[in-house]
Symmetry: C4
Amino acid sequence: MQKSSQRGTPVGRRKFLATSLGTAVAIGLPAWCGAQSGSRSAGPADPALLEDLVAANRILVRYGVLDGMGHVSVRHNASRERFLISRSLAPELVTAADILEYDLNGDAIDLRGRAQYSERYIHAAIYRARPDVNAVVHNHSPAVIPFTVSDVPLRPIYHMASFMLEGLPVFDIRDESGITNMLVNSPERAEGLVTALGDSAAVLMRGHGIAVTGPSIPFAVGRSIYTQINADLQQRAISLGGNVEYLDPREGQAMLDAGENRGYSRSWELWKRDALRGMR
Amino acid sequence: MQKSSQRGTPVGRRKFLATSLGTAVAIGLPAWCGAQSGSRSAGPADPALLEDLVAANRILVRYGVLDGMGHVSVRHNASRERFLISRSLAPELVTAADILEYDLNGDAIDLRGRAQYSERYIHAAIYRARPDVNAVVHNHSPAVIPFTVSDVPLRPIYHMASFMLEGLPVFDIRDESGITNMLVNSPERAEGLVTALGDSAAVLMRGHGIAVTGPSIPFAVGRSIYTQINADLQQRAISLGGNVEYLDPREGQAMLDAGENRGYSRSWELWKRDALRGMR
Amino acid sequence: MQKSSQRGTPVGRRKFLATSLGTAVAIGLPAWCGAQSGSRSAGPADPALLEDLVAANRILVRYGVLDGMGHVSVRHNASRERFLISRSLAPELVTAADILEYDLNGDAIDLRGRAQYSERYIHAAIYRARPDVNAVVHNHSPAVIPFTVSDVPLRPIYHMASFMLEGLPVFDIRDESGITNMLVNSPERAEGLVTALGDSAAVLMRGHGIAVTGPSIPFAVGRSIYTQINADLQQRAISLGGNVEYLDPREGQAMLDAGENRGYSRSWELWKRDALRGMR
Amino acid sequence: MQKSSQRGTPVGRRKFLATSLGTAVAIGLPAWCGAQSGSRSAGPADPALLEDLVAANRILVRYGVLDGMGHVSVRHNASRERFLISRSLAPELVTAADILEYDLNGDAIDLRGRAQYSERYIHAAIYRARPDVNAVVHNHSPAVIPFTVSDVPLRPIYHMASFMLEGLPVFDIRDESGITNMLVNSPERAEGLVTALGDSAAVLMRGHGIAVTGPSIPFAVGRSIYTQINADLQQRAISLGGNVEYLDPREGQAMLDAGENRGYSRSWELWKRDALRGMR
């Protein structure tokens, strides 16, 4: 096991944490420390991809989708069997130096004693099951949470949420795992989530949050933001007391066929500029 | 076809986009590229008008009426047969160098290979049908969207929304065009919207947004902002559970007759100062 | 009539406005220009009072109570027959140089061609009728507006809104003036508002806003802010669907007897610091 | 009685206040001035603990849990019979120089003429009754207030609010003290609150606010923030109109057993960095 290198850690606490984690690993791993993968690295990731991944973390904080919790990952550009995600860290603090490489079992290629997200299995399982997915966001988006505990389904009320089509499925961890601490912190728990996800763009997690997918980072980010907005607007529409006319799934599909907001490119340019401002 | 000039584009991605668009135009146009108008330019626009148009984009972002999507236009000062609107760009990024001139068919006078808003036809059709209108905003104002999908009508609850009079009409793109991708991206679709608009100050668009008009930029901006606020307040008033007393249309008319908030001049001075701060 | 002096006006538009107003006054006054008072000035106001008045404008913008509209006044320190209020200007732009002196008829002592708030009569009439009042805020606080049009009364749900006691009265301009443009822009209209106000700390204005009073600027500012917060919280409490337990008026009175949040002094220190930061 | 020392007081008003307080103490104490403890100091507090306490004040303002009112305390590192809390001051203005030491009767060890929080008895009584508690927050969190006056109970709807278990109890000051000014400004009133609190992590205060506890500052801060978020989300979930599935208390307990968000350490690092930015 390697000693933690101290890159860009302004807070002395981190040094302590990394060091004590080293000890912890030696004497028995807590779940959030995890095992090292036996696999080899796919090599260095494309710096532009890393920049987008860092930007995604910060964009989602700016839009209130992430707070101190949640995470974003992307499939490795050099191997479909690897993905990239930060070590355990509040998303707003993530820099390129914090990104780790994982295999699709959720094991780190080279952990170097760093703390990991205990729920990285959400990402691993989705990449394994869904070849069309290249980016995943797990978040506790406030506007979305109410729909994870209500029997009123989340459905698209406007074209910016067309990717929801008929609506999003809900994963209840109790269905397969019974009473838990609610965390998807094992490959087994992640399997249940992936089953619930099916072919959808995202899956709600009862009493917890959501996992959002996309063919690229801008899609996963854009869908996370517009899922949150749609949830808020749907709640407002319902509270008007009248009938609510949802988007026809064929309208949603037509929007997807037309490129779904052109891959969010117009917004992505803006989001990224704002998120990285002040970093460089 | 002219090559794209690279004015004020900090992101390398833009150069790639403009270049690839040039190729795209040569081999067959996607809808959002569009044709060149055969018409001649009305000449350079008044720099003060351009400044107001740039400010309008940024003001509406500041107030949450626009995000990465939506657009603002103004009739050309030198010809009632022309209007000015940005090339396809997130509103917050728009500068005077991004403004293009269009004829009232929605065709650009001199596109120079730039990407365009696919929904510019909303603007073109309104200027054609409504001589009293000199500025148009199309937006996805969050508070307004719920009223586009509810059978509870949007109505003015206070004097700042007097321009709504009896309330705003709703355009449902299905009524004339059936199942679509929801975008008003052709002259035909825009005709249906203009018919729904009639003589109103604005028209809601089912599952999409709103188009707001005014005799000048400050009016269209002010009405966009206060439509959003009124929508939010109406939703709150309804959720109190009691009876809601709407503005009497004659009170609204009296407010219009008295100059409708003096043409929003008191707010405009403030809005513009804040929006342009940091640009110069 | 004096020509407008140009103090601290960064926008050229103001010069034009002031000049054209001078002409306007000469050839016939619009309502918002108003007459000069025949009375003499009470002399220069205490600079500390002017600073508090400027701060009050900016504090209320910071807390969303004021936007581009609304105004704040204070009784003159040298005469109970005079009050101080800005010329017609968005509150966020107000500086000490913009403050004008008025008599209790709502006539300016020395207008110098400046545009005035057409609703200054709200302030004049309250100072005339209520010797206990030394500061007045008129605003369109978003959370409050719904209660001006609902038959569900605004009532205090927590101790920070104790000044509401049994709740706030509502003034409907139609009751005495019939169909109007909703503005309290004459002494006659203001009389109706003052009658509705009675002995209360504030009066709601149907489809318009609220007028809030206090024995000093910090009281009027604090009450404006907490009226807004209470309105928001009451709406949330009601939307929970259960029974709502309002503050007992005797509890409210006990809070008033105990000094009502110590005259808001703890918050005032903070609010003023933040509001004036960057001005000096 | 010592004279007030003037540390870091940018506003002249403070000098006046402190001086007049000195006089007030000499001629008879208002409740918020209070008595000096006869006890001896436990000695200087750990500077790291003071820094965390200052940070906690500012974090809670950033997240809207505190405004100009409310307070945070921590048990003294050198004695379980002492706690540390600011003198009477808006939380955002608190620095290490403002922190005072108290005994568990709520009496200051060395007041030096400073004004105190009249509700410090909340903190004193909780530290006395609950050895497991080392940090307390009293706040008027807007989203929480509605649940203090509604018969709809506050309950956890997601895992971030697991510490609520079956839900939070409500303290009604009328039950033991009858009609009051609502303030918990005496040891007697605080006893009623502590009885209502029982073994819970927090107790709602009818028409007033909440008192939140934790085994350390990050716990009390994190629980305050997530109580606020959960309250907002529960209100949204209820307003959807369907059935709401609350967290199973056994799920909440499992989350607590697993370390309750790892002691909020991931967020704490972020929160503290942001809160202290610009101070140093």
